[in-house]
Symmetry: C2
Subunit: 805 residues, 2 copies
């Protein structure tokens, strides 16, 4: 026992009866956790335990459960005593039985699932549905009332907790961190959340670091550190650590009660100082370090093998019940050790000295509306996006350069302005780089650390969230939307893949939530993928990777949307749509650099609504034939630019070739409607792409994406896709499209190759185009000398597509 | 200045001349760094600087360079003084100019690139090639001599450093950690490397934490912490921190010299105690915290804006040279401030008091063979994999269950035994769970923390690397193979996506290395993806995600191999192949649970060599027609099992249907040979899949993968792919295949649907099969009650495929 704990024990003022009540709740929760793992019948142990009461297949995680139960028990007491607005995030989410036990005890479960009543029948139903086919998952998950944190992949509990309390001044997120997950990089990187948490306007995260010593099969790194080392660790992260340690329940109850009381008082004091006294100091937030045995209160040893206090208690500690009456006996003793007759009445209802401990109504953590954030969701106040648009008409179409993301930045500036408590941008130190800096006109970057005189746009009051950690950015936004607020995660395209698995897990959450009737729709996760592969010439090969969308594509189509706006007006239209949507992962891909602008506000609105359309102004279709010789399709800004330039080249050099130009802004318009609700009708598909003409498709990302999207469309072999082929280095923008064979020259050459019957007239132009490519390669060999004007193309309707050609 | 630093300064014994020499090297390196960013001519500033000397496009990162230069300078001195075997990992790898400057100064660069000599012409060539098209990337990267760490995505420098020194007792990896990357989760999670570093048999990592205060556009979190907080932070991570701080070069030189000397002495003392005195204590390894200004020695202010010491120095601090003669003047002053005439002789060669400071030969960090690990690579000693094989013949084919990964564990146990210094398994606490536990017969898990009496298979001497961090596992293995050793990263399939981006970056490294002639081939990165989506019934939806291979597929085909062995003998054959290979990312996908075994050792050898083949014993082809009615293809263990069971069903109920069964073990055999070197010939493709018959393809992962692989094969629409469709929960193995419509029943029904001309005879069987499905759903509704025998299928050649059907 640490000195701190000892001192506190002596001062404790909590009375014995309270401790006994707490212990009763804890025993009840432990009993229910074990019941879920083992029992299909005899839930109250009224009969001697027989093998037919046992489930045929034993699944679940016991090891972490008693600790999770202990914490829940004590938090309930504090909520009730102090009237707290609190949610519970179980980092060790494998302990599903624990959280389910508590929400059943407090009555939340039965309100969400009336068929699982708070009595013997309901208890049996809870046990039976746990971890059985057609039942509920063994982890804390979407159908667990009060949860915003799936207990699967590890490492994100603190990011979700911080996201939940940003702009929720009244809320406290109690976040249990397991010593297993504490080894992950994302978790270690997430302690720094307090550096971005402003006690004046944000709520509080109370981390409870549960060291039970073991992971699935081995000791955990952190559990083997001394209290002294852990004290350094947390002070180094800016926290004030407090220790609760032991294996004597009543002593631990007392210490936990006192430590928790003190921590919550400290949180209130921190908030008071910030809110009433205007303190801008970085506070030392409390963290509770709890060392209790893994599988505590379970069997000590089985067949000579240590269980409680060992990794052997990780999952189901007592097996082989069918063949081993001794084990069945041990299990019965284990159940009875909780004295169920003291905990539940004749009807199997928890006794009143237990239920009286639960907070009431929405104060119960299983019923807190923040944990079903859709209930609190308010639509964003959005101005008309066209106010930020670019003026485009035939006089300047494709001839003037504007940074599209800069316009989005202006749109977001006003979203910040109009939604001061419910919108945030999350970005790894790249807001300016991504040309979204207009937001700094109305909000700084948030930083609680000391601010220097020469700092720009940094202050504790800032609400733009910049931290060089994609994991934190993503996790914070998840927590923010799961509690009903709105935001955008802007990332360098290549580095969005750092959070591939986080996006996958959030997609799974949304997929699952669609099946849970009481989960209200939450705002979508919005991704802006910018600084894309085509224009990361400056940063080179490591920054060229458009694979994040490949990862999204595999998720259930109901939850995924991918947009590739070609210009500013389309970007704004798409962003407006995404900000209004719910329950999706919306990925928007567009570069940040100044780029040509093609569509007016009205045209963009129409184009984005359609998802894909023919750009008639860009076509060179012949009136005398119904279908063009070739369809030049494209998706993505650079792909669009190169396609238009190729059309220009072809119009100039081979005007008799009939060319249609189709732009795709919503990738999900490509699959058949059976495959995705955004899929265009077959009629529309034929209108755009004809029945059988060749289609040359220039694509922003890996070409396989388009093939995958077209699966199920007839004769998809006529689609020839060009895209990023994993070629790159530090080079010029134009060399990037050449390296990946998607340059205007390559596209024009390919069009001639695929358009039937034109090759023999095309010899001259082919020579010319190949000469241009050779010129480019020669220029590259010379490093920057005598750069030809080839890259300075503007839309010219074929009049003069290449100055020197 | 901290108290620590002050104390050390007073005691310093380093003489002034040494400090002046160090400063000269540093100035030379800074000069060369600035030169690379700006100059295409006049490299020695012999003429007044004119605009035509300036590159047309200014790219590069200045801000971090002076710090990287300072560290390199001082490490060189230490290497020379102490005859150290050291490599340099630049976490802030954007500072490519810095590392390039130093390796040019020490002569390594010219030895790797003879056309870039160590004289004026070479200096000009170095400047010109830096960050220009056709030149070299602006980051530390593959063509940077001495590098094993790409300067792109941030966060992995310590994992690479630890991986490099495992089993390299003599090696010291100096790892510069930037204060930007220090914010990432993976970096924060990687300090714990010392908990797994045994000074007796491993080398040392010397982290140098460079706090220059700013990231690209904002203050860094860590730089704003006090020395006191940072001291806690590092003590909490188990280190002994030492501070070097200031902006007076000579003072910083002195402090850096003294601090580095002390740190290196401490490292040697730690190693001596472990090696000579057998100490098993966890040592406090040194870490150096260096606070110096960002962009130090660059212009102080430009147009009133602060540059040195601010984020404004991040990239190119002086722009607009063409339009602003004042800026050009400032740039010239900046160059001259380094007094180049003192540093380089008439021929532009570094003067001897500079070159004399460089270590010699392979002691130079740019020439250290560990940083070109292929030079040190020794093939693994591998026993005959068939010794671990399963005995299979017609008597037990498809009828007996064995865990395949258990056999791989036995194979690896002996690899550990036979290669005690050059093979390691990296796994997030799941070695036993993944059934690879046989390795513990010969090696423990490594842990330097105190070991408890009841711990199993844990000791400081262990060489099995378990840490609950996919990032550490992956990064350590990268460092290990980049320095020429061998290993395997075993992961739960779903959680491999946590390191999607690390795999992507390593793939890019290998892609690039193929083009750099002096990079010798390194051992492959081997992945075992197990605990797969089909059998994570226990853990539920969050653990069901086969998307890691989707991510690999997009990489250049030269570096990617994906294998789906259906049984133990195929797994062993494939693993043996992977362990012998170089320069690939090899992903092997197979479940850990006991599974049916199909092929004998000889059959498996042949099958894996082919990549895909017809399993004649499983076919029910009719002699009277050349082609079968349908080809039932499969890849992956569960897909194979379900396909065989479906063939069995069809054989029993509709023996007249001619069915071929094809198994694919090497996914890369599917694409055309033009697309991948493993691609089978068109003739072979037709032999297996016919010219035009329907193919029903049961696939382990997302179906899109197969479509993507088949792209370029003719008439690919006749391939109907079933696979993981993102459906799952905590349920039974059989329910998983039902949910995803890949069950034997679905496959049999689909076969009847696609095989032309058989439907009208099939009404009876269809009714039967649909009845079975209905029975399954009813059973699921009842939770485990009355479980039918349907899942206990064994290969039966159609005699009795379903007991109750």
């Amino acid at each position: 026992m640490s000195a701190t704990t000892q001192a506190k024990t002596e001062e404790s003022t909590v009375d014995t009866q309270t401790l006994e009540h707490l212990d009763a709740w804890w025993r009840a929760a432990n009993y229910l956790a074990v019941g879920q793992i083992y029992l299909k019948d005899n839930p109250l142990m009224r009969e001697p335990l027989r093998i037919e009461h046992i489930k045929p297949r034993l699944l679940g995680h016991w090891g972490t459960s008693p600790g999770l139960n202990l914490i829940y028990t004590h938090l309930n007491h504090q909520i009730k005593t102090r009237d707290l607005n609190m949610i519970y995030l179980a980092g060790p989410g494998h302990g599903g039985p624990a959280v389910l036990a508590n929400v059943w005890l407090e009555g939340s479960y039965s309100e969400h699932f009336p068929q699982v009543s708070r009595d013997e029948a309901g208890m049996r139903a809870l046990f039976r549905r746990f971890s059985t086919p057609g039942g509920i998952p063994s982890h804390v998950s979407v159908p667990t009332p009060g949860s915003i944190h799936e207990g699967g992949e590890l490492g994100y509990v603190l990011t979700h907790a911080f996201g939940a309390v940003f702009d929720n001044p009244d809320l406290i997120a109690a976040a249990v961190v397991g010593d297993g997950e504490a080894e992950t990089g994302p978790l270690e990187g997430s302690w720094k959340g307090i550096r971005f948490l402003n006690p004046k306007r944000d709520g509080a995260v109370l981390p409870i670091f549960h060291l039970n010593g073991y992971k699935i099969a081995s000791a955990s790194v952190m559990a083997r550190q001394s209290d002294e080392t852990l004290t350094h660790y947390f002070k180094g992260h800016g926290y004030s650590p407090r220790f609760v340690e032991g294996d004597d329940p009543m002593q631990v109850h007392r210490d936990m009660h006192d430590t928790l009381s003190k921590a919550l008082e400290d949180i209130r004091e921190i908030q008071r100082q910030a809110r009433e006294q205007g303190s801008q100091e970085m506070p030392e937030w409390p963290v509770i370090v709890m060392r209790t045995p893994k599988g505590w209160t379970g069997p000590d040893r089985v067949d000579g093998v240590p269980i409680a206090g060992s990794y052997h208690s990780h999952q189901v500690p007592l097996g082989g019940l069918r063949d081993n009456p001794e084990h069945l006996k041990l299990l019965e003793e284990w159940f009875k050790s909780y004295r169920p007759e003291e905990l539940f009445d004749d009807q199997g209802r928890p006794r009143s000295d237990i239920t009286d401990q639960a907070p009431e109504g929405e104060r119960r953590m299983g019923s807190n509306p923040h944990a079903n954030g859709g209930r609190l969701r308010q639509p964003l106040t959005l101005r008309d996006w066209s106010d930020y648009g670019v003026s485009v008409d035939d006089s300047n179409r494709g001839r003037e350069m504007t940074s599209s993301t800069e316009r989005l930045g202006q749109f977001m500036r006003d979203i910040y302005q109009d939604n001061p408590h419910s919108f945030r941008l999350f970005c790894p130190d790249e807001t300016n780089s991504n040309k979204l800096g207009a937001v700094f006109e109305v909000s700084d970057r948030c930083m609680m650390s000391p601010v220097n005189e020469e700092d720009e746009d940094i202050s504790p009051d800032g609400r733009v969230m910049e931290v060089l950690s994609e994991h934190n950015c993503h996790g914070w936004l998840e927590g923010y939307v799961l509690t009903g607020r709105h935001g955008l995660f802007a990332s360098y395209e290549a580095f969005a893949t750092i959070v591939d698995s986080m996006a996958m897990q959030h997609a799974k959450w949304l997929e699952h939530a669609r099946e849970v009737s009481w989960r209200e729709p939450i705002p979508s996760m919005n991704y802006l993928l910018t600084s894309t592969c085509w224009r990361n010439d400056h940063n080179g090969f490591s920054h060229q990777g458009p694979g994040f969308i490949d990862n999204l594509l595999n998720k259930q189509p109901e939850v995924v949307r991918i947009y590739m706006p070609p210009d500013a007006n389309c970007l704004l239209s798409v962003a407006d749509h995404c900000f209004r949507s719910t329950d999706y992962l919306n990925a928007i891909v567009i570069d940040k650099h100044p780029q040509l602008q093609y569509l007016s506000v009205e045209e963009a609105r129409e184009h984005c609504a359609q998802g894909a359309s023919t750009w008639h102004w860009a076509c060179n279709e012949r009136d005398d034939q119904e279908d063009p010789d070739i369809v030049m399709a494209c998706a993505g800004d650079i792909a669009t630019q190169e396609t238009l330039a190729a059309v220009d080249l072809l119009r100039h050099y081979m005007p008799e070739l009939s060319v249609r130009m189709v732009n795709v802004v919503d990738l999900m318009s490509l699959p058949p409607r059976e495959a995705h609700s955004h899929g265009m009708s077959q009629q529309r598909f034929v209108e755009l792409f004809t029945v059988g003409k060749p289609v040359l498709f220039a694509f922003h990302g890996y070409p396989g994406v388009v093939h995958q999207l077209l699966h199920g469309r007839s004769s998809s072999e006529r689609f020839h896709v060009r895209g990023y082929q994993e070629e790159g280095t530090t080079t010029t923008p134009f060399d990037m499209v050449v390296l990946n064979r998607m340059s205007r020259i390559h596209l024009a050459l390919d069009a001639l190759r695929y358009a039937p019957g034109h090759l023999k007239n095309a010899v001259g132009i082919i020579d010319k185009l190949e000469g241009l490519l050779e010129q480019h390669h020669a220029w590259i060999r010379e490093h920057f000398e005598d750069m030809p004007d080839i890259t300075e193309w503007r839309w010219s309707k074929g009049e003069n597509p290449l100055k020197d050609a």
